[in-house]
């Protein structure tokens, strides 16, 4: 089955939480030089939880959709909860089967999020 399912394409074409937060508590940028995907991510925290999160991504459908879906999930979650997220979670979140090469695209957003939590 194609990985370009409606839900994925919807997040690619109409990303949630896209854009820059003006005064974030934390911001980060990650880059995959091999395919040119890049994600900038911004967050505002309230106590230990993410209050607001946003991103700017350039790259493939998978990396953008993954950033959009992950940003939706991350809101109101605690740092501890989010630190536990792994590859299996991302694959499950996307709900598609990815080969070893495309998994890297999907994981770029997680890498950005983890850096925000440091």
């Amino acid at each position: 089955m194609s990985i370009y399912q409606e839900r994925i394409l919807d997040h690619y074409k109409y990303p949630r939480n896209q854009g820059e937060i003006e005064k974030p508590d934390k911001k980060t940028a990650v880059h995959n030089p091999l395919c040119g995907d890049s994600i900038k991510m911004y967050a505002v925290f309230e106590k230990n939880k993410i209050k607001k999160i946003s991103f700017i991504a350039s790259g493939c459908v998978i990396s953008k959709a993954s950033a959009s879906l992950l940003s939706e999930y991350a809101v109101k979650k605690s740092k501890e909860q989010l630190r536990k997220l792994d590859k299996a979670f991302i694959i499950n979140m996307l709900g598609i089967e990815l080969g070893p090469n495309r998994v890297k695209c999907a994981l770029l957003a997680l890498e950005a999020l983890q850096k925000l939590l440091i």
């Binding site: 194609s2 370009y4 074409k13 040119g36 493939c60």
Partner: protein, 404 residues
């Protein structure tokens, strides 16, 4: 003319994957049954080590192995089969030259020249050597057509090594190598010229005598042969003065507890048991290519690449950007489409059983030069047809519809 219907029957991959449209021969070619059988024959009938055994099957293996060396020599018009050294691949061939000859002749402030269109395998080794020796790596640029600019701006009297690709694995550009070598040797008669012919040997007649290069390297797996086999051709007088690359068995003459002496070329550079089956099967690939004829293969690819360029441009107009020259180009087309990430295109094409390459094709400096991070590459060989290209165009339309 080439009879593709007949040719495709020689490639069992199409029996196992009847829908496969394989447009990635630049990465690796498919293998005909004859080549696969030859590998098996070695393992089944005479799988002994070469040189050492004084028994029939070892002698048979040695004979088959050396016959390939002769076939390779004759294929690229080398007078001496001693000038053919077997390696693992093109990358190893280039590293061999870098670690032996390069290390010896390059010193501080010397210059090494490559071009911006090199594959990483002909870029990184020289960059590393230049850094280690505090030498300069000079880079020949391309023009807007994707052709090399005049080398006299880059190659100087101080340039000790010029290492250049014959055909770009991204742009498809066929460089006027013979002319460039002439020019380089006029600038510096002592210059060592190395030609990366990985994309050339499978597709056009390569003649090392006519080119007047010093080294020429290529891989078996791009010319219908097995993976794990590379070739290094070098002038005997140069090879004789080079130190060994790897030390160990097979390459020695005498070993005492204090001292070791080495065999002459080519064995001096072939330490350890090589990929015997692969090398033997490479001869089968060469014979297969010879039977069809490089001239016919080249003409067939020209027909395909011209058809593809026109069809792609007619179909996608301004949405498509095709890189590389319109003339003197091999059967390789790299392009970007409608700002869609090449990985997404390749993935969607895969849904239609079309295999293309997406990424930077081991040529990051070139992609940076083209101001892109990645491209889609379709490449053609003797088993491709215009129907493959029709399917490619159809599938690209679909991709734009889905994510464009």
């Amino acid at each position: 003319m080439i009879n593709v219907t007949k040719i495709k029957k020689d490639f069992p991959i199409f029996t196992f994957n009847p829908e496969l449209i394989y447009l990635d021969s630049t990465a690796t070619s498919l293998k005909p049954q004859l080549v696969i059988d030859k590998l098996n024959t070695y393992y089944q009938e005479y799988s002994a080590n070469i040189y050492r055994g004084i028994y029939d099957i070892s002698e048979k293996a040695t004979e088959e192995f050396e016959k390939t060396r002769e076939a390779v020599a004759s294929f690229i018009h080398s007078y001496l089969s001693d000038e053919i050294i077997f390696t693992r691949n093109t990358t190893e061939s280039i590293n061999l030259i870098m670690y032996t000859l390069g290390d010896k002749i390059i010193s501080k402030n010397d210059e090494i020249a490559v071009s911006i269109m090199e594959h990483h395998s002909n870029f990184v080794p020289w960059q590393v050597l230049a850094q280690r020796k505090s030498a300069t790596l000079s880079i020949i640029d391309i023009d807007n057509n994707g052709q090399l600019v005049d080398i006299s701006k880059t190659v100087t009297k101080k340039t000790k090594i010029l290492s250049l690709t014959y055909i770009s694995n991204v742009l498809g550009t066929i460089n006027p190598i013979k002319k460039i070598i002439q020019q380089a040797k006029q600038i510096n008669p002592e210059i060592i010229v190395i030609i990366d012919a990985a994309q050339a040997v499978p597709h056009i007649k390569v003649d090392v005598q006519d080119l007047n290069c010093d080294f020429l390297v290529f891989s078996s797996h791009k010319m219908l042969g097995p993976t794990g086999v590379g070739v290094l051709w070098g002038r005997k007088e140069l090879l004789e003065h080079m130190n060994p690359f790897l030390y160990g068995g097979e390459m020695i003459e005498t070993v005492s507890t204090k001292q070791t002496t080495y065999k002459t070329t080519p064995q001096k550079f072939e330490a350890g048991t090589p990929h015997i089956a692969g090398i033997i099967a490479l001869r089968e690939a060469i014979e297969y290519i010879n039977a069809i004829g490089l001239k016919h293969i080249y003409l067939h690819e020209q027909t395909l690449v011209n058809y593809a360029i026109h069809f792609l441009e007619d179909s996608f107009k301004k949405k498509i950007q095709i890189f590389g020259p319109r003339e003197m180009r091999s059967g390789i087309i790299s392009f970007t489409l409608d700002k869609i990430h090449p990985h997404d295109i390749a993935q969607l094409l895969n849904d239609d059983h079309i295999a293309v390459r997406a990424g930077n094709h081991c040529a990051m400096p070139l992609h940076t030069r083209l101001h892109i991070t990645a491209s889609i590459r379709a490449s053609f060989y003797l088993y491709n047809t215009t129907h493959d290209i029709d399917m490619l165009v159809k599938s690209l339309h679909k991709a734009i519809k889905i994510i464009g």
